[in-house]
Symmetry: C2
Subunit: 184 residues, 2 copies
DNA sequence: TCGTACATGTAATCAGTTACATGATTAT
DNA sequence: ATAATCATGTAACTGATTACATGTACGA
């Protein structure tokens, strides 16, 4: 149940319309909690009905017209409550690891190309994160808020670093492997 | 759409009943693709209807009676097809990172205790993985199948190592932070 | 007036979770 | 007999994804 809180966080940072939120969920917050515009509009409706946010005054009408929201005190309270409440980490769920486990019994043919492709994708993501770090967190002077945001970005950087290293290591194994590991 | 393939992989490794699969999904395969018994029984029904698996001969009847399944050639083919097919990595979705981002705007009070708790949980998981590595992959002699399974376990170990390090780093930051970062 | 980008939404479907129901087997 | 455990399932709900629908504003 984190999507409403992701939206609240984004709206506290800056009041926005649905489409603006959608764009921000394509980067920034979306780097660790993605959402589509359909999810966002639905959730905005619920949050408004629950009295956690409201449409910015300036009476905008219906369809096709921009409608911006801001967080109400109740919304800020709910966000603070959720942030402090204990939550168990979700167990890992990764399809590539599953595919390698499957490859151990049905053969590895075909998977190597996709490992290479994933390596490229993770390298690209890592480069993007590192650009952001250079741009937004120059060495030396992080404010309190910046320090936390930097910490989150560091997690992204370190995770992408892990994946690129692990994928490179995986690919070295493939040079030594027969193309078919399964008993077909 | 990976659950059926996780089950196929488990059943190729060893024909099993629903409950046996459930137990194996609490460890082993479940370490990177978890599933509850409800999901598993539902999926076993679908896989049987689709002709990818079948109940082991020895005419078992209905409720309360054990019923084991094995993978049919069509199931093995489908698993090989899925393993080789390109799939995009799913974007990261992590509630703890979101909570820290939220903490940057509504204050950090309360979250530190949960960071410590997460650190303990990840340390425990890491220790468990390392035991498995020692027990199942002694240095030197990995077969082809073992090499792939070891690779997957390494990913688990390295990921847990990352989390423990990152959480420790995060906690050092908290010593220097005021309890309230938000403008209440 | 036509196409394109902006902007907000609905509907259907799918995957995962939670709560509950039912029967068989075994030990006390 | 009865309680605990093994074993298989149903039902309801929630969250996420995919496809589609509708309307506005603006430039060519």
């Amino acid at each position: 149940m984190s999507l409403p809180h992701a939206i609240l966080t984004a709206l506290v940072e800056k009041p926005s319309s649905g489409l603006e939120l959608t764009r921000r969920f394509d980067k920034s917050i979306g780097y660790f909690w993605s959402a589509t515009h359909q999810q966002i509009y639905r959730e905005l409706g619920k949050l408004e009905a629950d009295g956690l946010i409201r449409a910015l005054p300036g009476g905008q009408p219906a369809r096709g017209q921009k409608k911006s929201y801001e967080v109400l005190p109740a919304g800020r309270d709910e966000l603070a409550r959720w942030t402090a409440a204990p939550q168990d980490p979700k167990p890992l769920r990764d399809a590539m690891l599953l595919r390698l486990r499957a490859a151990a019994v049905v053969g590895t043919s075909g998977i190597e190309a996709d490992l290479r492709r994933h390596l490229e994708l993770h390298e690209r993501q890592l480069a993007e994160y590192e650009e952001i770090e250079e741009r937004d967190f120059p060495p030396g002077r992080d404010s309190t808020e910046d320090r936390l945001r930097h910490l989150v970005l560091r997690a992204g950087i370190d995770l992408e670093t892990f994946w690129t290293q692990w994928l490179r290591h995986a690919l070295t194994q493939f040079g030594e492997l027969p193309d078919e590991g399964g008993r077909t």
